[in-house]
């Protein structure tokens, strides 16, 4: 074990230093798909945070009981259970959000942030630390989704959280709220972090390193094979 980290740093690292989607570049699918407005982004972030906290707690409690060989399927079942709960809650209390997030609510199951935290953090740490980690990572995820969503909504529709702004709402750039704008604004957000930190800020990269399944699919072999190209 490396040096003991304080509770506060566990909580705060997910927000800025290891922000899951702006620094580690995880969870790209929901980041792009649910940020067409600030409210959708926030809704997705909070839903994922709820699942993340609950699954982190349960998995850290079960970590000693689950046999190592079947741990990933077990984690997936725990996560899928909580996703179903969140699905019910959204459907009952905020049906409009449930409809606009649609397919992406069940897809929280395969969100690599959640499985990644289960594998990398919750299975090795105690309950309190895992819960704090879930809260921190969840807040980081929610904040960045809301921020990207707000920018896209502001430019794409001229509104912010649904409130129309005087000049902007008369001159919206629709494209930013549509699919290409999602890629573009996310690119700009990462580039802005790169610029502000002189290239040291962004730690992740797209590829096997960021994938939650990396630890079971023999990452190095896998990457080596991919670099080499596959001889069919």
């Amino acid at each position: 074990m490396e040096k003991k980290t304080s509770k506060l740093s566990i909580l705060t690292k997910g927000i800025i230093k290891e922000n899951p989607n702006l620094v580690l570049l995880l969870g790209t699918c929901p980041t792009l798909a649910t940020t067409s407005s600030a409210l959708n982004g926030a809704g997705m972030g909070v839903s994922a945070m709820a699942v993340l906290i609950c699954s982190n707690i349960v998995i850290s409690l079960l970590a000693k009981i689950i046999p190592d060989k079947v741990r990933i399927p077990c984690y997936i079942v725990v996560i899928a259970g909580f996703v179903t709960v969140v699905q019910f809650v959204l459907q009952a209390f905020v049906p409009s959000l449930y409809n606009s997030l649609g397919l992406f609510i069940p897809l929280i199951v395969v969100n690599c942030i959640i499985l990644g935290r289960a594998e990398m953090f919750a299975s090795k740490n105690n309950v309190l630390d895992s819960a704090l980690d879930g809260v921190g990572m969840g807040i980081g995820f929610t904040l960045s989704l809301t921020a990207i969503g707000a920018v896209r909504e502001l430019i794409g529709a001229g509104t912010i959280f649904g409130f129309a702004l005087p000049w902007l709402s008369a001159h919206p750039m629709m494209i930013i709220a549509l699919a290409p704008g999602g890629f573009f604004i996310y690119a700009c957000a990462i580039a802005a972090i790169n610029f502000a930190t002189k290239g040291k800020g962004v730690k992740g990269s797209f590829g096997c390193q960021g994938c939650a399944m990396a630890s079971i699919c023999q990452q190095e072999k896998c990457i080596a094979e991919l670099e080499k190209g596959v001889e069919a």
Partner: protein
């Protein structure tokens, strides 16, 4: 709805990667080399059709038992088990195919495009054959996007003219944005 309309719609108009943001991880991660992009694309087609073939009948059972809310849990487990079995079967019976696709199979288990296509087939109310066609089309659309994107990346990545802040991940996303913009031209086709 005719099968042709479904195919055109899912490959070009509502392309899974470029219009619906499903399967972004492999799209951005494995598209550096053309060979691996094609391998991944073919593996995704294969798994998508198989997963739909397995999950659609199961959903009918869930519906008759009135436990449709277990969809998420049941589907992800079926997909995970299926991918494992397919990998073992390929290794034993068709080693040449396993050599070509084997590397990609474990990666696909937690690919949101596969779970996504299974769920959206149910949500859209497709019958069995329509579901299979839709899944096949979604896979082909993914392969198409992968091939074009890896071609674009081989020209754009590592170009020294790119501003420093945009090198790496951001330029990949900007490239994807341009490709997505191009695919928007197919809007209204069906």
């Amino acid at each position: 709805m005719s099968y042709f309309t479904i195919l055109v719609g899912i490959i070009l108009v509502n392309n899974y990667v470029l219009a619906q943001f499903l399967g972004i991880c492999p799209f951005l991660g494995v598209s550096k080399k053309m060979d691996s992009a094609v391998g991944m694309g073919v593996a995704v087609i294969f798994v998508m059709v198989l997963a739909t073939a397995a999950t659609w009948p199961i959903m009918q059972i869930l519906n008759t038992l009135n436990i449709a809310y277990l969809q998420t849990i049941v589907f992800i487990l079926i997909i995970a088990a299926l991918v494992q079995f397919v990998e073992m079967a390929l290794k034993k019976f068709i080693p040449s195919l396993h050599k070509a696709l084997g590397v990609f199979l474990p990666l696909i288990t937690t690919n949101c495009a596969v779970l996504g296509v299974c769920i959206s087939n149910i949500d859209d109310g497709y019958n069995y054959l329509q579901s299979l066609v839709n899944s096949f089309g979604a896979g082909v659309g993914f392969l198409l996007a992968m091939i074009i994107f890896s071609g674009m990346r081989s020209k754009i990545d590592d170009n020294p003219a790119i501003p420093k802040a945009f090198q790496g991940a951001p330029i990949t996303l900007v490239t994807a944005a341009l490709l997505s913009l191009a695919f928007m031209g197919f809007g209204g086709l069906v």
